[in-house]
Symmetry: C2
Amino acid sequence: MDTKSPPSERQLSATKRSAILSGAMQEFLAQGYAATTMDRVAAAAKVSKATVYSHFKDKEGLFIALVQQLQEKKFQVVYGSPEGKRLQGPPRQVLHHLASNMLENIIEDKPFQAFMRLIIGESGRFPELARAFSHHTPRCFLSILKDYLGAQSGLNLKDPEATARIFIGSLVHYVIFQELLYAKEVVPFARERMIQGLVDLIVNDSA
Amino acid sequence: MDTKSPPSERQLSATKRSAILSGAMQEFLAQGYAATTMDRVAAAAKVSKATVYSHFKDKEGLFIALVQQLQEKKFQVVYGSPEGKRLQGPPRQVLHHLASNMLENIIEDKPFQAFMRLIIGESGRFPELARAFSHHTPRCFLSILKDYLGAQSGLNLKDPEATARIFIGSLVHYVIFQELLYAKEVVPFARERMIQGLVDLIVNDSA
DNA sequence: GTCTATACCAGGATAGAC
DNA sequence: GTCTATCCTGGTATAGAC
């Protein structure tokens, strides 16, 4: 018996590949594209640099593969969320619940915030990735909300889709501003107040 | 007579300094922090690299100086905007005008968009700059809008500040999403429809 | 398929002439 | 105060052993 890895002496390609992607995620999310070095990626993945290059063409290829993987995996969590199903119930409750969950999910999820930073920060150099992000991410969310709002005749909304965009946009902006740009430390604004303000604006039953 | 610069053979320090900042702006806004090289900054400023280092301690110092300068100069244009004065008039008109101007200003101003990308993208590495941005930028704008909304008793707003944040947040998010992330090419949404939706949501007089 | 070792290049920063 | 020339580190990518 030696001190090496007991289960499988020779690890297979798929294992290495996912280890590399995992290391790449750690580095790219923390440092951004240009500041990340293949050395550190290899170290984080506990793999030699040459192995990284045998699995991915170059730094750019690795980055693109990583982002695509994150889009597919991370997103179902944040945007697909508990409400993959259609929404139903009284607007006040549904909207409050929806906003609350969305903020909670994103604010807790630091890696996802780093991912937002990365996508926005690198959107100049990697426009394709930004386009893919715009295309896939808020699609289902927006569409579900739009349908729900459109079906609530009691709300008297002139443009349900615009309303849905305002709803989501306000919340995403809240996260970008308060969290990514540290506004919470400098011009704080309670999460609950934001949510309540948004719900009141949309529902607006004269209570 | 030689072929060199006729006006002043030896340029002064202040001139060089602003040339360097100008070159730095060009490079940092286009490439981001890490991908920008001091060589290219010097070239863009038509100055030797040593001169750059005589005016600024290092790359980081140059970057910070640049961002601070941009905050002070660029901002009065975009956020101070035509409405530095207090707002007055009927809500529908004022809000529509305000939103329209704000979007117009930001969407036309590509350098400012690059600046947003930069601030968000580098907010992990330069949290101080992000904090300064959060602190100064939308301050006056938000405050003016909040006061205006609070004064319009006809609107029946429960929380004018929350409403003001939703207003600005929706619009900023619109820019980030549609412009910076190229959503306009992939899930387009008319600017005017966004503005109208926002105004309708806030004003909401049953016409 | 994976590692070690290395080629090659570029970037940040500085020394020294003028 | 500004330039030219240079140092040195560290990065991407690959060659060759196992």
